[in-house]
């Protein structure tokens, strides 16, 4: 197929087309809208043979996909920010009904005040809904992740929903060359969805149901067990994808120059690219630093974080959202993962890029200097600090 110049949103739509999704339901919201516009064009032109249900809310968008998936269809929807928050109730339905589905989410700040910039508060607020969460860094990774996510979630041992996020505007509206796999390659990697749905015409069945405490705990535990199978299964799926596409996605935690590092910074999403450049600069001036991209936030890759932390004395975790009354959400997960390991590193929580603030190399130099000079737990709101330590507002 070769390269196409695509935005992150274009990559989402292209991946949905390659996955031959059968039912699409969506509601517009900035900055997600161009995904569903692109899909509308694909369906209208006949390029993609799918039922496209134009709904009156994000809540209904997700319900359409849930019910369509219950009959066995492969579904796609996309949303952002407030739209994802409106879906919250049904996010729980999706995992509880063991619905294999993929949702594109453009990470955007949550109101008030209104703000459409990149921020992870929308998806981090869905941490406990039983969804697998991916945080890609580039448009190429968006496309590859959506395709691997379908294969992962439809595996009979998994049957859980997954959201594939993109940072608002930094990915959603930024164009870059994307290697689009040949449809034949994708068809082999991702065959038509297994039609063995629970609901079938003429079959006595019930999906959802109600139970007392006797069975309810088993249902919840089965979701937990499926979530535990995700990371080993992801490794298989990504290996096969790498064989077929030539691109290795790298698993849930992708380290960079972490060997012999004194300090390592964990990042999510687009800040990872900038952080890699800053690591190179600091390494060339003799400072032993590294970084690691947290690609998968749910399930949290506890073992990978422990392995990374084994030879590091200082870990920084850069979050693009904040858990009020605590710290950055990824930072608190990292601390939890490291509890009880022998001589754990210090973990500093950094906040940057909130509400779409640009996080450039200079900002990350400050983060690394702070990390190398202090073992403070934070949280440090980098957006509020200047070089002189003077707090500026606005």
């Amino acid at each position: 197929m070769g390269f196409k110049v695509l935005s992150g949103n274009g990559a989402q739509a292209e991946a949905a087309r390659l996955a031959r999704v059968q039912v699409i339901a969506a509601y517009p919201i900035t900055p997600q809208t161009t995904i569903v516009e692109a899909l509308a064009d694909m369906v209208a032109s006949g390029e993609l043979k799918a039922q496209y249900v134009k709904v009156e809310s994000e809540h209904s968008a997700l319900q359409v996909c849930l019910s369509a998936a219950a009959l066995g269809a492969r579904t796609y929807s996309a949303t952002s920010s407030q739209g994802l928050l409106l879906m919250h109730e049904l996010l729980h339905w999706a995992s509880g009904q063991r619905t294999p589905m993929v949702l594109g989410v453009v990470n955007r700040a949550v109101a008030p005040p209104w703000n459409i910039g990149a921020d992870h508060a929308d998806t981090m607020s869905q941490r406990d809904t039983g969804w697998i969460q991916f945080y890609p860094e580039s448009n190429q990774e968006v496309l590859d992740t959506v395709l691997t996510a379908y294969r992962l979630v439809e595996d009979p041992e998994i049957r859980l929903p997954a959201m594939v996020t993109e940072d608002a505007f930094y990915l959603s509206h930024t164009f870059e060359p994307v290697d689009v796999p040949d449809p034949k390659v994708v068809d082999t990697f991702l065959p038509p969805k297994d039609a063995r749905a629970i609901l079938r015409p003429g079959v006595v069945s019930r999906l959802g149901s109600f139970t007392g405490p006797d069975h309810y705990v088993d249902f919840r535990h089965q979701v937990a067990e499926a979530m535990d199978r995700v990371l080993p299964k992801l490794q298989e799926v990504e290996s096969e994808y790498a064989r077929r596409s030539g691109r290795d996605l790298g698993g849930p935690l992708v380290g960079y120059r972490t060997e012999d590092a004194d300090a390592v910074l964990l990042t999510l999403g687009t800040i990872s690219t900038t952080a890699r450049g800053v690591v190179d600069e600091l390494r060339s001036s003799g400072q032993k630093v590294g970084m690691a991209k947290l690609r998968v936030f749910r399930p949290f890759p506890v073992e990978a974080v422990r392995a990374l932390a084994r030879d590091v004395s200082r870990l920084g975790v850069l979050d693009r959202s904040f858990t009020f009354g605590s710290s950055g959400p990824a930072a608190s997960e990292v601390r939890s993962a490291l509890y009880g390991v022998p001589s754990p590193p210090s973990v500093t929580s950094f906040l940057a890029g909130i509400g779409g603030r640009d996080v450039g190399p200079k900002d990350l130099h400050r983060v690394f200097q702070a990390l190398l000079s202090s073992r403070s737990t934070g949280p440090r709101w980098m957006d509020l600090e200047t070089d002189g330590g003077v707090v500026v507002h606005g």
Partner: protein, 319 residues
């Protein structure tokens, strides 16, 4: 003896968890008799999510999908989209929701489904309050009725506001078919189900669904009470097809509403003045229906031309 027009096949089983005399249980039973086994029913949180019995059992002989209380309209849009995508064109897609799940919290989802012209049947079983949670008022509760959130005490006289007119709201969306149904009239009930089954496009049923514990009457009176509801003009039976209204149970003279009201504890506090208001409303409702039937008796121009390539009506075979 008249020939029985109701299919013998039972797709709702004994062993269900409904109260004795439950109107919604009868509604489901007759609905499935008319639809047959190639049916999937989407049910929100409501009495029926309990009546269908807990995991791992079911009281239905068809597929049932549970959905969130406000999402039934969207759910049947999704089922239909999947059925079309998977080549299951003969599948009857049905939403079966209470009055709270339809006229209150689910109204947006219902409106969306109707406006999208989803090829599915939406059934509102109207027991006129939140019965599954224990008799709290809904917008479909009749004016003056006692519920646990509209008490009758001191100056308080039950629900202050009139019942929401769900049929008017639905008809404003121009469905291909909308009808009122009452399990006390099973032949009329099943005929309407079979009629709707053969159509394509959005269809809506408003089903009278009596509730002995919620309405405070004896459970062996459900059928009689339902007959009174229609004969008094409280719940007239009619259908609207492409804008044409037809009354399906004609009454020369309405029975006194007192007979209906006096049979139920929820209206026990009614003064003669309150009874008179109900009577006037029933008469006005009946007169309005007669007038609308007359006004639409000649075929009205079709309000919406089906898009090119629209599917033909579904064959009426049951299986």
């Amino acid at each position: 003896m008249a020939k029985l027009t109701i299919p013998r096949e039972e797709l709702m089983y004994s062993g269900h968890a409904a109260c004795p005399g439950c109107g919604p249980a009868l509604a489901m039973r007759f609905l499935l008799k008319g639809l047959g086994p190639r049916t999937v029913v989407s049910v929100p949180a409501s009495c029926w999510s309990v009546i269908a019995t807990p995991y791992p059992t079911t009281a239905l002989g068809v597929g049932m999908l549970d959905n969130a209380i406000e999402a039934t309209g969207a759910s049947i849009s999704g089922l239909r989209a999947a059925a079309d995508a998977l080549g299951l064109e003969d599948l009857n897609v049905v939403g079966f929701a209470g009055d709270g799940g339809t006229a209150d919290i689910g109204l947006q989802s219902l409106s969306g489904m109707l406006e999208r012209r989803t090829d599915a049947l939406y059934v509102m079983y109207d027991n006129e309050a939140y019965m599954n949670t224990g008799v709290q008022r809904s917008s479909a509760t009749p004016q003056g009725a006692w519920t646990t959130t509209t008490p009758v005490a001191g100056e308080a006289r039950g629900k202050l506001e009139p019942k929401k007119d769900i049929m008017a709201i639905v008809l404003a969306h121009h469905p291909v078919y909308a009808a009122t149904l009452n399990p006390s009239f099973p032949e009329d009930f099943v005929r309407k189900v079979e009629r709707a089954r053969g159509m394509r496009g959005p269809r809506f049923f408003h089903v009278y669904a009596a509730c002995p514990p919620g309405w405070r009457y004896d459970s062996d009176q459900t059928i009689e009470l339902g007959k009174l509801a229609t004969y008094t003009g409280i719940f007239p039976l009619y259908e609207v097809e492409n804008g044409q209204l037809r009354i399906t149970r004609r009454m020369g003279q309405l029975k006194p509403v007192e007979d209906y009201l006096a049979a139920q504890g929820r209206f026990r506090h009614f003064s003669p003045e309150e009874v008179r208001q109900v009577k006037e409303q029933a008469e006005a409702r009946w007169a309005d229906l007669l007038a609308r039937e007359k006004a639409t008796s000649t075929p009205a121009p079709v309000r919406e031309v089906p898009p090119a390539g629209a599917p033909a009506p579904r064959p009426s075979a049951t299986t």
